[in-house]
């Protein structure tokens, strides 16, 4: 199993989620994060003080998936979240050792 971590632009969330649903992804976990990268942030000015932060609001998706499904998930995210503008984000994958569903105690792919 794989654990996929995707950083995307917040307004793409709904679209990506829908696309993944169609793919048969049953669940995912989403968090609000700030991203730092090539994309430049806006300048904020408060009276005399100017702040340019490169920390931009992003959304992080975490998806546990079977080894089979993982590549297709990555592909779908890459295509759906893409706006061809800098800052579109990344998809990271790590190996998942185990997965357990709390409600039933099941583990392995059936737990996803």
């Amino acid at each position: 199993m794989k654990f996929i971590i995707a950083i995307i632009k917040p307004f793409k969330l709904d679209e990506v989620r829908e696309a993944l649903s169609n793919l048969g992804v049953a669940g995912m976990t989403v968090s609000e994060v700030k991203g730092f990268g090539r994309q430049k942030g806006q300048t904020e000015i408060y009276r005399g003080a100017e702040y340019t932060t490169n920390m931009l609001p992003k959304v992080k998706l975490e998806i546990a998936a079977s080894d089979d499904l993982a590549p297709r998930i990555i592909e779908v995210i890459q295509q759906t979240a893409n706006t061809e503008a800098i800052g579109d984000g990344k998809i990271f994958v790590v190996d998942l050792v185990s997965a357990t569903r709390i409600r039933t105690g099941e583990s392995g792919e059936t737990a996803l």
């Binding site: 307004f11 709904d14 806006q42 300048t43 904020e44 000015i45 408060y46």
Partner: protein
Amino acid sequence: MIRKMISGVVGSGVALGFASTAFAQAALIKAPTAAQQLTMINKGDTAWLLVSSALVLMMSVPGLALFYGGLVRTKNMLSVLMQVFMIVSVAGMLWATVGYSMAFTTGFTPGLTPYVGGFSKALMRGIDATTAATTFSNNVYVPELAYFVFQMTFAMITPALIIGSFAERIKFTPLIVFTVLWSILVYYPIAHMVWYWGGPDFMKDTPNEAGLLNHWGALDFAGGTVVHINAGIAGMVGCLMIGKRVGFGRENTPPHSLTMTMIGASLLWVGWFGFNAGSNLEASGVTAVAFVNTMLATCAAAVSWAVIEQVVHRKPSMLGAASGAVAGLVAVTPASGYAHPMTAMVLGLVVSPICFFFVTTVKNKFKYDDTLDVFGVHCVGGITGALATAIVASPALGGQGAADYTKFPYVAAPYSISAQLVTQLEAVTITLLWSGIVSAILFFVIDKTLGLRPTEEIEREGLDINEHGERAYNY
């Protein structure tokens, strides 16, 4: 000729007893001189009018700003607050510069008098601590500057109401330009048509010294037509011409803070007593009528909106209650000084279902993106109130009726609900047409020149950071 005039009194006999406490001994003076008028000022009235002005300012900032702001997404919060704050400020300066004069003086030529005032008081010429303004009672005057600033607060809030229709997708500077032009071409003329007149001590001699709708006898106690219908239709036109928000109907756009919306609605409620009861211009028994009517209509409309939601969704919502309260306030505005409290309460019960129908069924059916329901609440509620005023003002239903100011002292005018309904309908129609058409032209011209709408990217990222360089929250 003049059949009836805007009035805040029952029959004059009784009203006189009220208004003239301090002058009970003195006989009424027709067309008093400026010096005489000064002796007809009561400090209780002055205090009331100034307090009312502060209350109406509180309706705009922070009231309306929060009511609206809470409903948009976080990324556009400051844009709404800023738009309201700046419109209020710009409209305030404009009022002193030309607005008051265009609304409350006689026409540049007599032929213009029914439509718009002249420039004789532009830059506040001739207005100072020693000039007085008329009220709706014979021989009761208030300091003109108090009247000036009370009316000013109305001129400040009205254009700010409009922005709710196209919130989250408008450029700032073009909006300010719109505000200036709309005030001059729409607000001042309509205010003049509805509210300008010579005053109760002078109308007998100069019965034509009045705005068009005032002359016709349209009843609008505190500005249902001038403020709410006027702004509501301008907003609707703007919303249609500017188009829907990016993602409208697809993306979720829940209010970012209903807490703010509730604070805003509450302050609107509190401040509206200045708006409605202040519109009597003096602190008399009729002022208390307007105050009570405002209170009851609001309670009733908040409840009836919640009840509909209970019936339709099984969940009465805070936003619903707040929307109902505002709908009730809007509806009772033109009727506030005329209705019996019990009919005001009924008006409140009735207006919410009507507005609810518009902001849910109608809006969903026609799929226009009136972001904050300015049309559904202010325009529809305003029309409901304007028409209902013809009914609830009827003495037969316990209303205050209308006064015939062509007599001195003024007397009660004969009252016919159906005739009044026609007059009200005419006033509503003229306002809808005037404001609707002129607004459409203004939006069109500004769009073609300055552009009304930010780029899609800016809209997505939010107006706050792009137009104002700030974020509302950094928790």
